[in-house]
């Protein structure tokens, strides 16, 4: 929305690149379904990152050429993928040993809401009649060392996704470490939400107006 109307903010590829910049060489990374999947394409040259998909593959490679997919080689979003040299396959209990046992370094997830203390809601809008579906999200936020959220700053209706308290059902409590939106990069700290970086054309006031929780601006200690 922001990007479109005012030519300010980051587009989704830039958002993904912001996340990718923070993924270190040698990291084991799980990417959620949707926008998080874009991150893999933005990792800077020279960094070797190993992608885990919870349906049983470590060393997930890029999608195969159109029409060349193997329906038995898919990712958690049920899309065809490839496997890199040095990959391995395993069953679901072993896969979640990797997740729950804190072996995965970084998980990048989408969000419906993130609260100021890092609570995440990303699996259900809680509407009556809606069919709940959780997948591996609760295991991921409970088990992965670092949780990054990548998301538009506002909902399609223009409401803030970053809020004082989540109104949607939680995926996990106090689990998010950093939020990457089209407007800013924000750390979840004990003292509150610390803005690390603002997108082009976004200023502190504008960000405050579009955020449902208090923000701390202190670029000396947080920005890089």
């Amino acid at each position: 929305m922001v990007g479109k109307e005012s030519k300010t903010g980051w587009d989704v590829v830039e958002m993904a690149a912001n996340v990718a910049a923070d993924i270190h060489n040698g990291a084991y990374v799980n990417l959620g379904i949707g926008m998080p999947e874009l991150v893999a394409g933005q990792v800077p040259e020279g960094r070797e990152v190993i992608y885990h998909t919870e349906n049983g593959l470590l060393g997930m490679g890029p999608p195969p050429p159109e029409g060349n997919g193997d329906p038995e080689l898919i990712n958690a979003g049920k899309k065809c993928v490839t496997a890199i040299p040095g990959a391995c396959y395993f069953h679901h209990a072993d896969s979640f040993t990797m997740i729950r046992g804190r072996h995965i370094d970084i998980c990048v997830l989408g969000a419906l809401q993130v609260s100021e203390n890092g609570d995440l809601a990303n699996w259900s809008t809680g509407e009556p009649g809606a069919i709940p579906a959780v997948g591996g999200a609760m295991d991921l936020v409970a088990g992965v060392r670092t949780i990054y959220v990548i998301s538009r700053h506002l909902t399609k209706k223009g409401e803030p996704k970053i809020v004082r308290n989540c109104t949607f059902p939680l995926t996990g409590k106090q689990v998010v470490d950093r939020i990457y939106t089209d407007m800013a990069i924000i750390d979840v700290k004990k003292e509150g939400l610390l803005v690390r970086k603002l997108a082009p054309g976004i200023n502190a006031d504008y960000l405050r107006q579009n955020t449902g929780a208090d923000l701390i601006f202190n670029f000396n200690c947080g920005n890089k």
């Binding site: 998909t53 919870e54 349906n55 049983g56 593959l57 193997d70 329906p71 038995e72 080689l73 898919i74 990712n75 049920k78 496997a83 396959y89 395993f90 069953h91 679901h92 209990a93 896969s95 979640f96 997740i99 729950r100 259900s124 809680g126 009649g129 069919i131 709940p132 579906a133 959780v134 997948g135 591996g136 999200a137 609760m138 295991d139 409970a142 088990g143 059902p169 939680l170 995926t171 996990g172 409590k173």
Partner: protein, 237 residues
């Protein structure tokens, strides 16, 4: 002589009784034992509780089993996927029960069922609606919920190759829930693309040891479920 090979999917699923708990392997369409499921539709056992990660796609496989009203209750982590239509409609009409379980908890509860572990603690779902009503406990300053093992009367699993002892290897990410489900049922029924001689599978590479398998049926060219869904095929055809 030990010979777990049976000659047809129909014979393989013939003992499944009304009211049985049935685990069905697969993550989406990958690894779903579609020929065994179709044989179960032909067989007709009803009032089943099915444990599977999803609820099937289109009108074939698990979705067709549900559409045929043989399933009264689903235990799964992700009941709605792009191509799932059958379960959502029945669920909205209140005609099928759902127990929603986080995916890792589902895998671990099944593993526990196979490993003689009646219950364990996990951090997943703590302080969420799915953790409500579960017993919780603090270890090392962190809160966990207690989860109970799941066992089944039958497991239906698809694999790449099997021998007459029931040793199995799988194909890529079609492995998923197969190995843990094999361990957790009174009777594990497997469809294999290929049955090989004893020793045809390197003993270092066996994924499911034969001790966990009761029946194996060869299905050389299993249907490509994704294609059937794309073609809007309906089972029974």
């Amino acid at each position: 002589m030990i010979n777990k090979i049976v000659d047809s999917p129909g014979r393989a699923v013939g003992d499944i009784f009304d009211g049985a708990i049935v685990m069905i392997g697969g993550f989406g369409e990958a690894g779903s034992p579609i020929e065994l499921i179709h044989a179960l539709i032909d067989h007709g056992a009803r009032n089943l509780t099915v444990v599977s990660n999803n609820t099937g796609s289109g009108h074939v496989g698990l979705a067709a089993l549900i559409e045929n009203r043989q399933v009264s209750r689903m235990i799964c982590s992700f009941p709605r996927t792009t191509n799932s239509k059958v379960f959502p409609e029945l669920y909205k009409r209140g005609e099928i029960e759902l127990e929603l379980v986080p995916q890792g908890t589902l895998a671990e509860r099944i593993r526990a069922g196979g490993a003689g572990i009646p219950a364990f603690y996990t951090p997943a779902s703590v302080d969420t609606p799915l953790g409500e009503g579960k017993e919780s406990r603090v270890f090392g300053g962190r809160k966990y919920v207690m989860e109970l093992a799941i066992r089944a009367d039958f497991s239906l699993v698809k694999c790449k190759a099997a021998d007459r002892y029931g040793n199995l290897v799988y194909n890529k990410t079609a492995r998923n829930f197969g190995p843990v489900m094999c361990t957790a049922a009174d009777s594990t029924i497997v469809q294999a693309r290929e049955i090989v001689e004893l020793g045809g599978i390197d003993p270092e590479t066996v994924v499911t040891p034969g001790i966990f398998v009761n029946k194996v049926v060869e299905v050389i060219n299993p249907a490509d479920e994704s294609r059937l869904v794309a073609e809007n095929r309906i089972y029974p055809w």
